[in-house]
Symmetry: C2
């Protein structure tokens, strides 16, 4: 049975992008699995982590800083509020504005989740030498800088 001739093209595994994605996907999935027991998703964690550092923030500020749309922030915030991990309060000076913050429970949970993040990091990268680690971090940071990448991804 004749078939259309196959033009030789590069092996997928010849691409750095392939390996990057392969490993990144697994690291993320493993982290998501660790978060599951706490009923928090990776995207929710990102939002919580940001609020932990800033105390409180307007949805539009969060959208900018996390590289998401305002609608996406609303949805994530809704879920965190439903779970009792965050609060939404109206701004007194501008009736259009809202402020998002962690609830006490949410704030208390962050160190625990951060420990899971550390554990995940260790599982995947602890065997690397200091030098390897430095090279990778530098190269990845360079790509972000050179390509002017915005938006913070989930992790």
């Amino acid at each position: 049975m004749p078939r259309t001739p196959r033009q030789p093209i590069a092996d997928l595994t010849a691409h750095l992008g392939y390996w990057l994605r392969y490993v990144s996907n697994h690291v993320s999935k493993a982290f998501a699995h660790k978060l599951e027991a706490r009923e928090v998703t990776v995207a929710e964690w990102t939002l919580m982590r940001k609020l932990y550092d800033t105390d409180c923030l307007a949805p539009s500020r969060l959208a900018e800083q996390l590289g998401l749309t305002r609608g996406a922030i609303t949805k994530l915030a809704d879920r965190l509020i439903t779970k009792g991990l965050a609060t939404r309060t109206p701004d007194l000076r501008d009736a259009r504005a809202q402020t998002l913050a962690l609830s006490a429970r949410g704030r208390n949970l962050v160190p625990t989740l951060a420990a899971l993040a550390e554990q995940n990091e260790a599982e995947f990268f602890d065997h690397l030498s200091i030098k390897e680690r430095a090279t990778i971090e530098r190269v990845l940071r360079d790509i972000v800088r050179i390509r002017g990448l915005k938006s913070i991804p989930v992790e």
Copy 2:
């Protein structure tokens, strides 16, 4: 206004997992954008790429090799078939079995899409030195090997 004390925890950007995900997400998104003009998604491309190398394959084989469920393969295959890029034919020896293959049009399209993948790769990684590139690829491959990662991600 007193608030719950903030326990100091590691900066997100101290994690390799963070940078990996950051860059990987952008590389993938840029690739998805390139594929858009051809009306193919990244997951569809992965399937097409696999079929290009194997000529044809049963859904269950594809599921194993791409690390997806059979249901997911059915859905992806349905879309490719709707677009005229793949075909599904019953197996003559086992009436339960099906065989997926690229259509002539699908097969002809693969080199074009592969060129887009190359272009994407170049945009993000061309500035790396040979040594940097080798280090990263080796480290990522090692992680896959050491951690025994399965499943092929999209890209």
